[in-house]
Symmetry: C2
Subunit: 487 residues, 2 copies
């Protein structure tokens, strides 16, 4: 008899009625076996049919939009309109359709990178991995990053890999609806039934065992640093490819010229910190305010944080984690200016602003430069550019880094950008990082430990597809045996 | 006082006079610090100057060709003409000049992948890693894969990364001459002096410590599986990028049609197995002969192996390793048909042919499917295609896999290729894998454990350069702050 679990409504704190299965190892083992058959079938499948499957996924999901969005809202308390029902839903559909276009593209600029050297009779391209991609989505984007319908799923399928998708235990009914739509689309497109297999949840040790299994070619994960590092260790030990998005401080450096208009900067930053209750991967959790303008900025930011509504966290555990994190930052020398408390009903938490001076921040760097998952931000008052540069040099790899500039800040930009450029995937100027445009030029990635490899991006087609491919050379192979795009 | 070491002449077994330093940790630590300065300097360097440096490397090396080749010959016993003085030397120079062209290329099809989205004001490209690449070359290609002058070096520099290069203890005087030429080229091009730093040798634990150091962005390694896995573990634990080429059986599957001409196939295979004394990464160490033609092929191969001169191994240790490996294969059920002995003078070893039936090979797979580094090959007699397919499915990731076909082998090709395609980087038909053409369509890579990542190639510009780059996004950044190729 399988174990089961259920979710909660974060807005009320009430348990939800639906029971969902915790999938056992024998079931995962059978899925891994089936995925090998699906991998072989996909390798012989016309790319146009894989493209048709991804389009059918988008169509099937769209047809069930209102029910899926309402379910996601109930399980996550993220705003129904426009966030879930429009913005994130359209993003999910757009990603699937972009991936469909890429899947069907066999041209010279496609992710397949076809190369033909007539003189040597040596050709190359990129192709699927020969095993399943285990796709594990996060808690904070129940649709667009979901393991069974999100960007990693779409990229893995576009490259011709079967997917074993794990839902997130905080929104299992959403995952069930998404998986049902995708399963129906498999039938629509006439693909092997194990092209996508869905797991509502499994024990962590079984998940790690699956990652280390040779039938699993790659794992895709978005989530916490602790879980990500455990997954990375399992993948590394077995040679499984890992595409990991772990955590990021997403530092903002505000130069003196930008601080000359404290109200505008405070509005932008506070809005970005509290968006989605501060549970974005790209939340700009630390702002380094450089020079004498820091105090006026902090005052303005305080007013914004105090005026914002409490954010609803995704999980009850999140309240305790955030409170503990805030207390740890305070005990390391930061001062809480506002917020700091959970609020009834449900999993609400006050927007929370903390400040610290640059010397203390550097002195207690490991304790203070930590992600607070929720509507909380830390302003670091740096005496001058030199202190800000010292901070920048201490930073680990980040998804994003932002430099806010104004009049007279060219030298400051140059100095900071030269340090930050190789420490982040996306460098922004005068723009908050929480908006991640789904365009080919986007990089949603960055150096370790923000991700596992700085060469990859989880958003942006076709680069996101390349993560799940291998480089293949065909040396002296008769033309009749080559893929169409190499003849 | 530093420790020192010296090399041997493998042809005579005599110790060579020159003493070389074993570099200590404090020296490595200072090199890591200097490489951070060089990384910052390179980030501000005109790509044309990096290109000029790589060309100057080629010119400086070419000017010292006869002395370098003669020294490499003395230390490795690889043939002076044409192998070292012509073929491998020209390959080294060609790689450096191809990398130079790529380094200076800022166009839309270059490794920089410049992308401009005017509508969103989001741009992206690929750029250097922000730290040093620790480049560790192998014993078997003292020039073209050398840490300080080979393909990994050229690719890392082309991407704008400083290099800390480690020589190989079997050919230290060669390494010293290569490093001297490269050091002179740094001055020619006016680059930061720590752009390339050379280490003759270091203790393994100091090398692993360097790999785990945050100032080292990547490690590039070609060599044994044991050393490669130790390096991978150190790199994985610290988030250092690793480009690893470990070992490979490079299996050949000979279908019945190909076995109809046993003499030709035997000549090609025996020549490939014994080339360079069987010390190529792509040596086809295992040949699976399918069907009744196997015996005639084995007889023909035996004659070729017996007629070939003993191969000179690179190291005295290699004799013992090879003898132990052969004995282990014999004790697991293989039969030695010829060879098997070391020969005086120097580090010579007889070309050695072993055979085994398919059932025994499958039964003792882990013991028999192992790399024998040297002039030794194993023929597996597979009863039929089904048994060959079972063998193919058991294989780990490989650099290459070869299918030899003749009349009537189309179905055999299709069945084998569908299994082998995702298990190797390069799939060949009727061609032995030891020739690795330096062309853009080459893939010298493959799934784990042949390498660390199936998406990368160590040979072929520009893909080999991409290994040592990060994906960078510029979001909302003012045009005056962008690289030229993004404006």
């Amino acid at each position: 008899m399988s174990e089961t679990f259920h979710a909660f409504n974060p807005s009320t704190g009430a348990a939800l009625a639906a029971e969902h299965p915790i999938v056992s190892w024998p079931e995962l083992d059978a899925m891994a076996a089936a995925s090998m058959d699906a991998a072989a079938a996909l390798a012989d499948t016309d790319p146009a049919r894989i493209a048709a499957f991804l389009r059918a996924c988008a169509d099937r999901l769209d047809a069930d939009r209102s029910r899926i969005a309402a379910t996601a809202h109930e399980e996550t308390a993220l705003p129904l309109e426009p966030r879930l029902a429009q913005v994130e839903f359209d993003r999910m559909l757009g990603q699937l359709r972009q991936a469909a276009d890429a899947a069907g593209d066999v041209g010279p600029t496609s992710w397949r990178c076809p190369m033909i050297d007539e003189a040597t009779n040596i050709r190359s391209d990129r192709g699927p991995l020969g095993g399943a991609v285990f796709s594990i989505g996060p808690n904070n984007f129940p649709l667009a990053f979901h393991g069974v319908s999100g960007g990693d799923f779409a990229a893995a399928i576009a490259a011709g890999n079967p997917v074993i998708a794990k839902g997130h235990p905080l929104h299992p009914s959403t995952g069930r609806l998404l998986a049902d739509a995708v399963t129906a689309a498999i039938v629509d497109a006439g693909l092997h039934p194990a092209t996508v297999q869905y797991v509502a949840h499994c024990e962590p040790e079984d998940g790690l065992r699956l990652i280390a299994d040779p039938r699993i070619a790659a794992v895709a994960f978005t989530g916490s640093r602790a879980a990500g590092l455990a997954i990375k260790a399992a993948a590394d030990a077995s040679g499984t490819i890992a595409s990991l998005e772990m955590s990021s401080l997403n530092p903002v450096f505000a130069l003196p010229g930008a601080l000359a208009d404290p109200a505008s900067l405070a509005e932008a930053w506070a809005g970005s910190v509290t968006l989605g209750a501060g549970q974005f991967c790209t939340k700009p959790g630390v702002l380094v305010a450089i020079g004498a303008g820091a105090d006026a900025f902090i005052d303005a930011a305080c007013r914004r944080f105090e005026a914002a509504a409490p954010g609803i966290l995704l999980a009850r555990d999140g309240i305790a984690s955030l409170a503990i994190g805030i207390a740890a930052v305070e005990s390391s020398g930061a001062v809480r200016r506002c917020g700091g408390h959970a609020v009834e009903p449900g999993f609400r938490f006050e927007p929370t602003l903390l400040t610290v001076d640059g010397a203390t921040f550097l002195d207690r760097f490991e304790d203070l430069a930590t992600e607070l998952f929720g509507p909380a931000g830390l302003v670091v008052k740096a005496t001058d550019l030199d202190e800000a540069l010292t901070i920048a040099r201490r930073l680990e790899g980040q998804l994003t880094a932002t430099i806010c500039t104004g009049s007279g800040d060219d030298a400051g930009w140059n100095a900071l950008a030269s340090v930050l450029r190789s420490r982040c995937g996306r460098l922004l100027e005068n723009k908050m990082p929480t908006g991640v445009a789904v365009v080919p030029s986007m990089v949603h990635g960055g150096p370790y430990p923000a991700t596992g490899h700085p060469g990859f991006t989880a958003v942006g087609v076709p680069a996101s597809i390349a993560r799940f491919t291998q480089a293949r050379c065909w040396d002296g192979v008769a033309p009749s045996r080559l893929p169409d795009w190499l003849v």
